[in-house]
């Protein structure tokens, strides 16, 4: 019961942290605060911030407990900074939010019930997947040994070097840190809290795209979410992102397929407006850089997805600034691909002990 309660609590806490990072980022870009955009964008900003905290700790072979303290302080600082920086704006933000909810109660109730229903179904189901033997076991291993990627998740043996394929994908270590903060086991956190959180972010993406497509017609957004939810439950083979969303939502790949790629499409739509290019390029950069933390697959997939969604924008708007924004955004992904190729060819090794 304790595990379930803490897993449920972890979802709003994660949401609050993401929202705070996102709100700060939107303020930095001088953009209007929007709840869904701040939460989704904040997720990527948070991952980048986490990577910056995690990598030096990992490279110095320091313990997970140290990273937990650093991350707790930074997260708390982000939440407090958001509260203070937005200051008087909160009143109008919440009154706008409640006005919106009161003006269209039915669509929002439908959307909330729909998301909740999906979360409950996923949380109650048992799934056996081979990838969990790495992802969940990695979190469990980090918690048991109080280390960061120094032991093999499959066997528990000490590794003499960091597995570079997963070196920058520190998302499992973020999960380990959150488990430490909540005093929660890896299985409950990942299979309940993170699966639910991925579903939540994915539906927020559908909502953001729906709002862009249908404007103030909230009932259409609700209908789109219903169709999308239904499709996810019926678009099932072992390869589809929908299957990842419902059976292993805690994996970085599930977030890649169901949050990152819809976000790229959403930003592509925004870029057609050909305004605020700098701010939107910064958002695109955050999504690309944040995705490197989720999964190594992002490094190959993101440049391809950006080409698909942004090539028409660049041609239609004849905008070299958009091209430049895209080119800079995929740099982190391409740099990591290059680093990985160099690692595979034996150009360097990152050891887990001083040499």
């Amino acid at each position: 019961m304790r595990n379930v309660a803490l897993s449920i609590l972890a979802v709003p806490v994660n949401l609050l942290i993401c929202f705070s990072f996102g709100a700060l980022f939107l303020r930095l870009l001088r953009q209007k605060l929007s709840f869904c955009l701040a939460a989704v964008l904040g997720f990527f900003v948070m991952l980048i911030a986490f990577d910056f905290c995690c990598l030096p700790v990992m490279l110095k072979w320091r313990p997970l407990s140290l990273l937990t303290v650093i991350w707790a302080v930074l997260s708390a600082a982000a939440v407090l900074a958001t509260v203070f920086i937005y200051g008087n704006t909160w009143k109008s933000f919440f009154s706008e939010l409640s006005e919106e909810l009161r003006a269209h109660p039915l669509p929002y109730i439908v959307m909330a019930v729909l998301v909740l229903l999906q979360i409950v179904i996923v949380a109650l189901s048992y799934e056996f997947t081979l990838d969990a033997a790495y992802f969940v076991a990695n979190v469990t291993t980090s918690l048991t040994t109080n280390t960061l990627n120094i032991y093999d998740p499959y066997t528990g043996d000490w590794l003499d070097h960091f597995e570079f394929r997963y070196f920058f994908s520190t998302y499992p270590l973020h999960c380990a840190v959150m488990c430490s903060l909540f005093a929660l086991n890896a299985l409950s956190y990942m299979k309940i809290a993170m699966s639910a959180f991925t579903l939540l972010l994915s539906n927020m993406m559908y909502y953001l795209i729906g709002r862009k497509l249908f404007g103030e017609e909230q009932w259409k957004c609700a209908a789109m979410l219903v169709f999308a939810g239904l499709m996810n439950f019926f678009f099932s083979s072992i390869y589809t992102p929908s299957e990842f969303l419902l059976t292993r939502g805690y994996e970085g790949k599930a977030l890649l397929g169901n949050v990152v790629l819809p976000m790229i499409m959403y930003l592509g739509i925004l870029f057609y407006e050909n305004t605020g290019l700098l701010a939107r390029s910064a958002m695109l950069f955050a999504v690309c850089a944040g995705s490197t933390v989720l999964s190594n697959s992002a490094n190959m997939l993101l440049p391809a997805a950006i080409a698909v969604f942004f090539l028409p924008v660049i041609i239609k708007n004849k905008s070299w600034k958009t091209f430049l924004g895209c080119a800079v955004s995929v740099l982190p992904n391409l740099a990591l691909v290059a680093a990985y190729v160099a690692y595979v060819h034996g150009k360097f090794v990152l050891y887990t002990y001083p040499r």
Partner: protein, 291 residues
Amino acid sequence: MQGLDIAEAGLSYTFRCIKLYSGASFYLALFFPAVIFLWFYAPKTFRAWFAYPALVMLLTIFNPLLPVLIDRFFDVNNEFYRFLWAVPVVITVSASLTVALGLGRTPGRRVTVFLSSCCFLIALGSFVYRDGFIPAVNSYKIQPEVLAVSELIHADSDVEYPRAICDFDMEMEIRQYDGKILLAATREEYLNALSGTEVDENIAEKQKHPNRILKVVALEEELPVEEFQESLEETGTEYVVLSGRSPLLPYLERAGLKEIGSTPARVIYRYTLKERTPFELADYTDVWEAQ
């Protein structure tokens, strides 16, 4: 992708990949019809948002030449299907159905369109729980057997980190729950043993002992007892967890293993190592002080 090789399939790879990717669902086939529907029935702004990227996808992701070209530089056999993730099937089809819904002029017509759209999606899809919904029985969302096996091993062992080898399902799950149980074989070694995949000579030599153990545990081969014991000694494996119905149980007893307990579906055996070096976590204190 399972059983699919770009070099072998050539230009037909993309089509075969799409077939495997879709499984029993027809949603991917709905993508282009949905884009065409939006072109004609949605506001003009939708054209740029949906049709133009779809055109680029047609020339790239759906282009049979692409995997053949990429394969010359990178081995993408296992990952190529992920390019299909960039095709926003769920968003495009659900957006087109919503537009169709908006075309209904009366509430009655909208309800009809909504219900028929849902039926249409259900009919063309493949339900994620088609093999049955298996409810989780505990907050760990794991087989209760895992908890019981872990408890039995730790109750019997006098070291903090005992090493075990288990049947496939248990092997894949036990370290998700219990990081203090070490395993004698990695996931890849296990999968290679089951599928009979041959590995490089150097790797095979390195994996000699885990592979011998897996021959017994995973492939149910009865190796000479001395060889099995040697590999248990070399890997420091003390516990063997197998199904209670395994035909190997008498063999394990002949090899000197003793039953220490059982769960409803499994039996746990212990092998007494002649030489034992208990596993200890690496101590980095000196390194930190030097830093």
